[in-house]
């Protein structure tokens, strides 16, 4: 049960980590490129006078000061008491216009935050795609934490295996090769220069995947399963 939980945790951790890394990478790239892809239409210059007596009057005045050929479809007007400003957001064209309380147009430009929020996770290809990819983002973090806990505690409890099998040796350790588990494997190794009696060095020992052994000047990649069945004699680490 415990092993199964660890195996499931490891798998979830790997895949969710990969998903989160990819989405984050895509998001970073989109932050760089999306503003360039959605350039806003001409906007009113700062300094224009806007009637701020009411929200309706504000919107009408704003429409009047828009340059010819540009349209505005305001989605919301937000008042900031601390900054004493009104901010008009157009979510369709990703524009935000900031107007001071006394009616002066302070700035008008691309609403990058809204653009990124709307189009990230490949939403610029299709909204459905963006939604599908971004939906699991927050739940993924929660699952990552939950699956990470058993892995963390299991790693602390795991003891180092005795160096009785080749994958248990450290990178750089030398050994004398004596034999292999089966004759076909021994034949293949012999043809590559790994003969009984040869002094070899464990060049690379990644956390998973094949090992790399150097015998003479020949480097041989050997799967962990085959390497675990090697018969060898350790001769200590290389200086």
């Amino acid at each position: 049960m415990k092993r199964r939980l660890l195996r499931i945790s490891l798998k979830c951790h790997s895949w969710l980590g990969l998903y989160l890394s990819c989405i984050t990478l895509v998001w970073l790239l989109e932050m760089a490129f999306l503003p360039g892809m959605y350039t806003p239409e001409p906007l009113p210059a700062p300094g224009a006078r806007i009637d701020t007596s009411s929200v309706k009057a504000l919107l009408v005045a704003l429409r009047d000061v828009m340059p010819p050929g540009s349209a505005l479809t305001p989605g919301s007007v937000v008042y900031s008491p601390s900054a004493l400003t009104y901010t008009v957001h157009d979510r369709q064209r990703f524009i935000s216009i900031v107007i001071s309380e006394n009616g002066e147009l302070l700035s008008a430009g691309q609403d990058t935050e809204a653009l990124i929020n709307d189009k990230y996770a490949l939403g610029w290809i299709h909204p459905l795609l963006g939604s599908a990819l971004s939906l699991p983002f927050k739940p993924a973090f929660i699952i990552l934490v939950l699956t990470g806990l058993p892995l963390f505690f299991a790693a602390r409890r795991r003891k180092k295996k005795a160096c009785s099998i080749l994958p248990g040796l450290a990178q750089g350790d030398a050994f004398i090769f004596q034999g292999a588990s089966s004759l076909p494997v021994l034949r293949r190794l012999a043809a590559l220069g790994l003969l009984p009696g040869v002094r070899a060095v464990l060049l690379r020992r990644p956390s998973k995947g094949p090992l790399i052994i150097q015998a003479g000047n020949t480097r041989v990649a050997v799967s962990r399963r085959i390497a675990a069945a090697f018969i060898f004699e350790r001769v200590g680490e290389l200086s």
């Binding site: 290809i125 299709h126 459905l128 034999g179 588990s181 089966s182 004759l183 076909p184 494997v185 021994l186 034949r187 293949r188 190794l189 012999a190 043809a191 590559l192 220069g193 003969l195 009984p196 009696g197 040869v198 690379r204 990644p206 956390s207 998973k208 995947g209 094949p210 790399i212 015998a215 003479g216 000047n217 020949t218 480097r219 041989v220 990649a221 050997v222 799967s223 962990r224 399963r225 085959i226 069945a229």
Partner: protein, 690 residues
């Protein structure tokens, strides 16, 4: 397996001629006269520069074919040196002669056939130990031998200096140090070949020093000597102790029962016989290298420095996942830039041709032959460029690292990292990849790889998908479409591999055992030669199919009245048209898909033929194609084209490798069904979403 040295009555003309040739050679050897024509087998392990030396020796005078009854490529070439004709036969690269793979089997059969007068063994001076293992195997065969000690410069860069004279003295055969990549690198070898005497061609040269035999070998050799076998006794003894299945089976069938029983008793008495042989051989190799190799200060190897980056568990994989697709894309772009221009010219000239020769001749030239030549040129350019990139990566030694990096991932499909190479080749050409699957050691893994390969889109399919995507979709969507469809192909290939892995019996102890060659500068001549071979194979095979297919498509779309709306093709297409409703395209697209059975590259050409019969020029053809299909239908078409059953050439090679029509037919039926379902699903989903 045949060992032609035995005096048996000739079964046919070929065997009779072979026997006469052997008698002639024997007569010449005993008379002291050197033959006017000599056949030299060029043997060696992979990554020893054997191909470079062979290409340098034979130049453009090579003939490429297949070994009889096998799907292994055979290359031979002749030159005249010192008034004699030397014919070099390039044997497949093999690590030993135990017939663990088809290449080793082919090499061994040829060496024992009696045809070669001499063996030229190419070994890598930088990896002398494994080369001497191979030389020991050759010495046991008793054949006249010359050793080409190649890559001497690489050995020196690694801090090792090999004394060829000492090595020649220890082995008892001529040893020629070479740097095969240099312009005049093989002159010493040519000098040695020119100076060959009769004594050098005598079987089992007296001076040869073999590794000392073990007790088991001696006892078995005594028994094999009684059997008067057509190959050396000690070699047969070694193979028996190594449990070589082919030799064991052969001896069991041919030997008298009593003699075979004695041999089995010896084998039972020495269960560890093979290990003892290898221990003796190691001692022999160790003494030889100790005498012949001088080690300088061990400089930090460039290979180590490069491997620190390229084999990094994270960055190494990132680089591999970037380099391979980018390499393929680069090849496609280079090909499109060169061959694409010729294709454009061919398409633009079609209306002028039809105007100059009105009627059937003009239609045949303008609608079939000239476009076919344009398509062939474009595809040739793409295939040549992609293969150049692939050979470049292989020649530098990087491709083996890709296999290493992919081993962990591919393990989930039940195959090891070596399978990465034929799977990558499948993205170039399925036919070549299926033949290349022989490097996969076990039959089980080979079956898995063979079931995956047809799902992978070859360069022809990718080229067709790219052409259609750019023609039918806006620019910023076209590449995404092709990438997504290719990913679907790869996913289906993975699923196929997993299913086959589940249903096949549990694997025997197998896993990756593979040499990682040292990095070295690529030899562009070798790369060009490799590309030239692939291009020739394409011209001989697929190119002819494309031309014939387009002519056939033209003919059935022209006859009987010269009007497409009353042609045989129209009637066939209309009959199939109800099927097209599920995919969103009309009978012309269905016919184009069906024609891809002959060669994938014909799909686009067939459509161009069908649309060009009523429209004058290239732009009009493209406009007509765009007008005849919706974006949803175009997407379904690309999916169907990519997943459709492989071309005729691939099917025939697949059948050879799978060993029968039953399993091949089953695989093709599944592919066909999957292609139709995937295309229909794509059309349905795209219609709902877009």
């Amino acid at each position: 397996m045949s060992y032609a040295a035995e005096p048996i009555p000739p079964a046919g003309l070929a065997e009779g001629l072979q026997q006469l040739e052997q008698e002639r050679k024997l007569a010449m050897q005993t008379s002291g006269a050197l033959p006017e024509k000599l056949t030299i087998a060029v043997a060696g392990q992979p990554n020893t520069g054997k191909s470079t030396i062979f290409n340098k020796l034979t130049g453009m005078r090579q003939r490429v074919g297949n070994w009889p009854g096998k799907t292994v490529e055979r290359k031979e070439g002749s030159i005249i040196l010192g008034g004699r004709t030397f014919t070099f036969v390039d044997l497949p690269g093999s690590y030993a002669l135990t017939a663990a793979s088809l290449e080793e089997e082919v090499a061994r059969e040829y060496l024992l056939s009696g045809e070669p007068d001499l063996v030229l063994a190419v070994i890598n001076a930088a990896a002398l130990e494994s080369g001497l293992f191979f030389v020991a195997e050759l010495l046991l065969l008793g054949l006249p031998l010359v050793v080409a000690l190649n890559m001497v410069d690489v050995a020196e860069a690694e801090g090792r200096s090999v004394d060829a004279h000492v090595l020649a003295d220890r082995l008892g055969v001529p040893v020629v140090p070479l740097v095969g990549t240099k312009a005049d690198g093989i002159i010493p070898l040519k000098e040695v070949l020119t100076a060959l005497g009769c004594e050098d061609l005598r079987p089992q040269p007296a001076l040869v020093r073999l590794p000392p035999p073990t007790q088991a070998e001696e006892r078995l050799a005594l028994l094999t000597a009684k059997a008067a076998l057509p190959f050396p006794d000690r070699w047969a003894a070694c193979k028996l102790l190594e449990r070589d299945a082919a030799v064991t089976g052969l001896l069991e069938r041919r030997l008298p029962a009593g003699l075979w029983k004695s041999m089995r008793e010896v084998l039972a008495a020495f269960p560890d016989g093979a290990r003892q042989i290898y221990t003796r051989r190691f001692a022999w190799i160790h003494e030889t290298t100790k005498a012949a190799v001088q080690r300088g200060s061990r400089r930090k190897s460039r290979t180590d420095a490069w491997d620190n980056v390229l084999l990094h568990p994270f960055w190494g994989r990132c680089i591999a996942y970037l380099v391979i697709p980018l390499g393929l894309v680069l090849g496609v772009i280079l090909g499109m830039l060169s061959g694409g221009m010729v294709l454009q010219l061919a398409m633009e000239s079609a209306p002028a041709i039809k105007a100059a020769w009105p009627g059937m001749i003009g239609s045949l030239l303008g609608s079939a032959i000239v476009p076919a030549l344009g398509w062939i040129t474009a595809l040739l350019a793409i295939i040549a460029a992609v293969y150049a990139v692939f050979h470049f990566l292989e020649d530098t030694g990087y491709l083996a690292r890709v296999s290493y990096l992919m081993d962990a991932r591919l393990g989930r499909l039940g195959v090891d990292g070596k399978s990465a190479i034929p799977l990558l080749m499948g993205m170039l050409c399925n036919t070549v990849a299926i033949a290349g699957s022989r490097i996969v050691n076990s039959r089980r893994q080979r079956l898995i790889v063979l079931s995956m390969l047809p799902f992978l889109p070859c360069s022809g399919q990718t080229a067709v998908a790219l052409m259609f995507a750019f023609a039918l979709f806006p620019l910023h969507q076209a590449l995404s479409v092709v990438v997504c469809v290719t990913l679907v192909n790869i996913l289906l290939a993975g699923i196929s591999g997993r299913i086959i892995n589940r249903f096949l019996p549990s694997p025997e102890a197998s896993g990756l055992v593979m040499e990682l060659p040292l990095y070295h500068k690529p030899n562009f001549k070798t790369i060009l030669e490799g590309v030239r071979t692939r291009v020739l194979v394409f011209l001989r095979g697929a190119a002819g199919n494309i031309l014939c297919c387009l002519i056939l498509v033209w003919a059935v779309s022209y006859f009987p009245d010269g009007d497409i709306t009353t042609s045989y093709l129209y009637r066939f297409g209309r009959w199939l048209e109800p099927v097209g409703v599920y995919f969103g395209f009309d009978w012309r697209f269905i016919v184009a898909i069906v024609s891809s059975f002959f060669a994938k590259e014909t799909t686009a050409g067939t459509l161009a033929v069908l649309f060009s019969v009523t429209t004058p020029d290239k732009e009009a053809i493209l406009t007509a194609i765009r007008g005849a299909i919706t974006p949803q239908g175009a997407l379904a078409f690309i999916v169907l084209s990519n997943l459709y059953i492989p071309c005729l050439a691939t099917i025939s090679v697949l059948r050879n490798e799978l060993g029968g029509w039953k399993i091949t037919g089953l695989l093709l039926a599944v592919m066909f069904l999957v292609a139709l379902l995937a295309a229909a699903a794509t059309y349905a989903v795209a219609s709902a979403v877009l």
